[in-house]
Amino acid sequence: MKPAPRKIALIGNPNSGKSTLFNQLTGLRQKTGNFPGVTVEKKTGTLRFSVSADDSASGDTLTLAEATLIDLPGIYSIYPKSRDEQVAVDILANPQHSDHPDAVVVVADASNLQRNLLLFTQIADLGLPTVLALNMLDVADSMKLKVNAVQLAMQLQVPVVKINARTGEGIDRLREAIQSVKMTDSLVSAYFLDPAEKQLDIIQAVKKEYQLDNNYLALQYICQHDSFTFLNQGQREQLDGLIAKHNFDKTDFLAYETITRYERLRPLVQKAVTTQGDSEQPAWTRRLDRVLLHPFWGYVAFLFVLLIIFQAVFAWAEYPMDWIDQATANAIQWTKYALPQGVLNDMLTDGLMAGIGGVIIFIPQIAFLFGLVGLLEESGYMARVMVIMDKLMRKFGLNGRSVVPLISGVACAVPAIMTTRSINNPYERLLTILVTPLMSCSARLPIYTILIALVVPDEAVLGILNLQGLVLLGLYLLGLIGALGSAWLFSIFVPRREPSYFILEMPTYKWPRWSHLGITMYDSVKSFVLEAGKIIVAISIILWVLASYGPGDSMERAEEQTLQEMANAAPQVREAAVASAQLETSYAGRFGKFIEPAIAPLGYDWKIGIALITSFAAREVFVGTMSTIYSIGGEASEDAVTIRERLQKERNPQTGGPMYTPAVSFSLLMFYVFAMMCMSTLAIVYRETHGWKWPMVQLVYTMVLAYVSAWATFQLLS
């Protein structure tokens, strides 16, 4: 029988190159999921070994050809500071956890060895078989530090492997070291720091009560029982009782533990690391920081980076998006005629394929955005952006780390919300997710363009500025104000669970590795298509059904009646009229009529109501629906001018005047600035917050905001 593959956990400080090493070890053989029961992203991958025949003979070593590698969240110590970090500790302390590793690879930044070894000594004291991977030796080198791995291995009593996660140097030796790690019991021969030295009684009591044989694990029960998912309420209270009985002061002990570990590490590091001259961060990092953190030039540089991102997402991504659009249209057209006519054909093409098209059209933007954000992160610049934006963001309950998603939101809220993962405070991350969709995304652009062209004269202001352009800019600014204002509002009503802090290590600047950027792009696209895509496709099919069917034989009757009425019209006009009449009688049409009383105060009729409903799949559907309803030809025309002309001709049955007055148009614009008319965004928020609660809060909030602003606009202008 083949045993289940061994589980190896990868652990290390943030910025130690852990993710890079993970990519290096697993390549594209990775899976993104979630840790069971918690909302923390989990990355696992397959680690392949080369097995020779005599290797597989011995029993107690890792001789499988494969192992599962688990990437744990980056932590500075075993005492977590955020919920992401809790996961790592929960897994390490619980042998019954499905992800509990058989061995651990600790990645350490060799240029800051003493601090990185703190975590290592804690992991080793837990009794987990450990391999130490020394990374960033090139940085240490440039700081004139020489690390003696053999010396270190002797002192720490573990295998130590020098690697370069960026170039792949030493990776094979690391693989071998992982493979031959002894899978002995978790008995520690010598603790680096034995908590029983100072707290013998309580450690003994806990060990006896929970049948533990590791003193350090017993300490974790004492210090972290409230966050350990594997302990029940009774056990937690019992541990609280023990703490009270023994007068255990957690903060004091943790301070003692950290300081003592550092004290014991110092001579050890001094022996293994030789300094040749003055050690400093690389000179170019300091030089770059002088510009990029500068009160003036820092912002100039940031604006320039923003410009490039906008350019990529709006201009460069347009070409591949056009190809995808065209390819989807061709595929739908081809399928429509290749397969026999009928309901199945319609559902396959107009429902399913159109839905899939709506998903894959986002791929270029997602890939570009994640590629660029990954580039900024890998190079170390992102940390600087967070620093220069933190004070501003804090005023609105956000964090310097919220800047990236807000910027990305101007392209598309879907990838933007995916980038909130880098915000490690869950509260600030949630706030950022809630307000990011208020940033005007690219899908709103077609709606803005048409409605502005309808009511705003195309004239110059102050000689150089175009009035239509100014209105457009105003709408984008309104979105930004809406986002920041809402964050502030949410921060008043949603209680903050954890205090905000901003202690952030500033990494040195590095050249990005292109292959890792490729993996990042591939991974984000894959998880978007697979996770959010499923939901978008499902909703598209539902919408198609609602727009294609009506109760009883009403659809057929509408067709007959229209055909009779328009018997003399040209076939094309007749077809269009039929489509329009059928839409009116379909479930979607009936729903439009049904909600008409609700949207009448905003100045809308049932036709706009249908567009509001269908554009819920995606905002850009609005234009398509309008063109169907006002029946310009049998199918949705892309020609904005004709739609505009048709909209201009549309009469309001009550007043006899034009339907699209400035009041109605501005009311609609307001509605689309604030309303969360996007299934994909709801789907991604569901995925990222792991439940329907927050997407629903967000939906209701933005709808109310949109409704009230649209109503106020209409009432003021009419």
């Binding site: 003493q114 300081i259 003036f296 940390a383 802090y501």
Partner: protein, 76 residues
């Protein structure tokens, strides 16, 4: 000298030696990130609007933290 000085009081480019912390919870976080009593800190950079600040710890790596967080690090 009046009372105590903390890292938030440092001028740009000024160095000092960490003496203690005045916020227990913050001190754990800072200790784990390598800010140890006896360690040298230098105020390296100040973000626009004066907050957050960047300090170099022990001469080898750079931490960015908010002013109120830096104020919990007492220096000699």
């Amino acid at each position: 000298m009046l009372l105590t000085r903390n890292v938030a009081d440092l001028k740009k480019g000024e160095s000092a030696v960490i003496k203690s912390f005045n916020d227990r919870d913050m001190s754990l976080k800072l200790l784990e990130m390598g800010c140890l009593p006896g360690c040298e800190v230098r105020l390296d950079a100040v973000a626009p609007f004066g907050d957050p600040i960047c300090v170099r710890v022990g001469g080898c790596y750079c931490l960015s933290l908010r002013r109120n967080e830096a104020a919990s690090i007492v220096v000699e």
